[in-house]
Structure formats: C-alpha cells, structure tokens
C-alpha cells in the first residue's frame, strides 16, 4: 500500500519542523545539563509575605525559595517567634516538595503577635526526592 508520493500537508511539515527543533533543543539542553551538573547544595531562604490576625492568634505567610541545584522533598520548616521578654514560641510546617531554583509558599500560626517580636525561620530537614 506504500507509495512514493509524499502526502504530508504544509501545516504538518511546519509543525513537524517545530517538533524536530523541540527535540534537538531538548537533547542539547539535557546534554548540557548532564555535562555541567550543578552541585550547589540546597539552601532555603525565607521572606515574609504577610502577617494577619486570625481567629486563634496570627498567621505569617512566607515565601520559601530553594536557591540550590538540588530538589527537596518533605521539607520541615521551623518558625520561631521571640517576644520582648525573650520568651519563644515555635511553629512548624512542612512542604511536600521544594524544587531546585524554585519558590513555594507556606504559613505559620503563632499565638502572640509576630509584629511585636523577632521572627526567625529555618529549615529543619528534608528527604531526597
């Protein structure tokens, strides 16, 4: 049933070239990634987006950025609020996943008003994906 006459319409040829370019750039990109493997350790940076009063205390919404080249799973995050009397309140949360060079968002609940004390955040641990 095969014939030598090519029957591909123009639109398919254009889309086919796009697919070919996609594959070629994909191979180059992946090959480049494989050769220049980035070994930067994961580093988690916090920045506060919003603090708002809620029915039971206060909510601190944070932006969490992984500046490292390694993706993290089950990332435990700790937020510590120290008031003027040096009393501390610790709150925890967990991110299922924090990809490399990417941002995610999380929230911490505190009883005391975070605006009147000192807020500190740190990652407690993670798992390899």
């Amino acid at each position: 049933m095969k014939t030598n006459k090519e029957q591909t319409p123009l639109w398919e040829k254009i889309l086919g070239i796009a697919g070919l370019l996609l594959l070629i750039t994909g191979f180059f990109y992946l090959g480049w990634m494989a050769i220049n493997e980035d070994d930067t350790s994961p580093d988690v940076i916090f920045s506060i987006n919003k603090i708002s009063p809620v029915s039971k205390g206060f909510l601190v919404e944070v932006e969490v950025t992984n500046t490292g080249a390694k993706s993290l799973a089950a990332v435990y995050l700790e937020g510590q609020l120290t008031d003027n009397n040096n009393e501390t309140e610790i709150s925890y949360t967990q991110l299922d996943y924090l990809p490399s060079h990417s941002k995610s968002y999380a929230g911490f609940f505190f009883n005391a008003d975070p605006r009147t004390g000192r807020l500190e955040f740190k990652p407690s641990g993670y798992q390899e994906p």
């Binding site: 006459k5 591909t8 398919e12 070239i17 390694k70 993706s71």
Partner: protein, 272 residues
C-alpha cells in the same frame, strides 16, 4: 483498511492528535510524582527515554497515527508533529491546573514537558484508534509478527509509563516476599495468556489442542512478558526507582510493574 480521507480539514487531524495526547497523558499529568520527577530526572536517562521511544513511535506511526501516512518522510513528520502537539498540550494542561507557574524553574519545567510529552505523543499517534472513527492497523489476519510485537510494546509502555513513577510500585515490592513475586509472575502470565487467546483467531477445536496453546504462549504471552519486563525495568531505571536497590528488590519491583505492563501489552492486541 480505510481510504485516506484527503478531504479532511486540517483541524481534524490536529484535533485527533490533541485529543489522543490529552487522553493518554492525563493520568500522568494528574500524578504528583510526575510533576516532581521533571525536577530531578537524570538528563541522560531522559535522553535515553526519548531516543528509544522514537523508533517505536515511528513503527506505530506506520501502523496507526492520526492520519494515514504513506512514505517514510510522512511517518517521520507524524512522529515529530505528535511530539510537538504533546509538548504544547501538556504545557497548556499543566499551566491550567497550576503545576507550572512563574515560580518554577524554567529549566525544570522544560525537562518536565520533555518527559510528559513522551506518553502524550504516544497518545497523539494512537489518536486514530482512540478518538478517530477508523483504524489503519490491519486486522489480526493481516498483521505480521513485527506488528504484533509493536502492539505488545505499545500497550506495555503505556501502562508502565503510567505506573512506574508512583511510589506504590516500590512500596509493593518491599511488602512482597519471593512467593508473592512468583505468584504475581504466574498470575501475569495467566492473564496475558487469556488476553492472547481472546485476541487470537483460533476456533474452539484448535484451542482444545495443547500445541495451539503452546504456540500462542511462546509467540505472544512469553514474548509479550519479555517485552513488558524489559520496558518495566527500563522505566524504573529512567525514574530512578531501582537505584541503590538490591538485585532481589530490583527484580521484585520489575515483577510488580511487569503485571500492569504485561496486561497492557496483551490487552493492546484486543484494543488496537
């Protein structure tokens, strides 16, 4: 075989490709592990996956595809079109459901789309069978053995791709003893053989003969399982599910994935 639909508008073929791509890749797009794997997949393994899938997709394109292609060039273009369509479709769906957003590393998104486009392009190529009204896969009588093997590999790849990234495959293998693995292996072969018999053209008198069963078992069931096992192993390797595992746990993992892959392989002869 149906006549080529020369008068079909452009959007019919494209629509089929998009439809098939979405149907095939939806289970993977909606699986959490598949979003994450894009972020950490080994680039060399992803290249291997794409490179090895292309000859299979070419072969599928000669048998199905979203339009009736004739020449080698037509079929190559069909494969490339299907990959482009799957890439764009996947990007649109993953953006619509919020998996891809501006906070995600563009390189990781690119890897994710290159990976997700593989099952999507398989769907786009099979679109004629899934969403189209006609098939150009020859009926059983007209199929040659390489056609059969391609169909077996297609079914195995589809189900293996859907399940290999999930944690459940590894967890199941940890829960299973050697006896469980052996039982699952036999069950897989039994189910595959049932599908192989159902898709064969043998009459009831022929099926009463052991030689017929033996022939179907060797040609379809056993070969199909070999293909499913190899594809299962390859998919687990691509998704890094068997790295640093003992030989025994690796085999158990492949046997677990070999069940859906094997059933998919055998059932595809009935479906396609």
């Amino acid at each position: 075989m149906t006549e080529r639909d020369d008068t079909s508008p452009v959007w019919v073929g494209l629509g089929r490709a998009i439809g098939g791509s979405i149907i095939f890749s939806l289970p993977m797009m909606m699986t959490m592990e598949m979003w994450w794997i894009g972020f950490y997949v080994d680039p060399l393994r992803l290249i291997c996956l794409i490179l090895l899938s292309l000859p299979l997709f070419y072969r599928i394109s000669t048998m199905v595809g979203f339009r009736n292609s004739k020449t080698i060039g037509d079929n190559i273009i069909d494969v490339l079109v299907s990959y482009a369509v799957a890439f764009v479709t996947t990007a649109l769906v993953l953006s619509a459901v919020g998996v891809i957003n501006t906070d995600t590393d563009p390189g990781a998104v690119y890897s994710m789309l290159l990976l997700q486009a593989v099952p999507g392009s398989l769907g786009a190529l099979l679109a004629r069978n899934i969403v189209g009204s006609s098939s150009k896969i020859p009926e059983d009588d007209g199929r040659n053995y390489p056609d059969d093997l391609t169909i077996l590999a297609t079914g195995a790849l589809f189900l293996a791709f859907s399940l290999a990234p999930t944690e459940e495959i590894v967890l199941l293998s940890y829960r299973m003893t050697a006896w469980h693995s052996l039982s699952l292996l036999l069950l897989t072969l039994l189910v595959m053989h049932a599908f192989a018999l159902a898709s064969s053209k043998c009459n009831s008198r022929e099926l009463k003969q052991w030689t017929t069963h033996w022939e179907i078992f060797v040609r379809i069931t056993a070969t199909g399982y070999l293909i499913a096992f190899a594809i299962g192993f390859f998919m687990l390797w691509v998704f890094e599910s068997i790295d640093d595992k003992s030989f025994f746990n690796t085999i158990k993992g492949v046997v677990v994935l070999g069940f859906p892959a094997g059933v998919g392989a055998a059932a595809s002869r009935l479906i396609l």
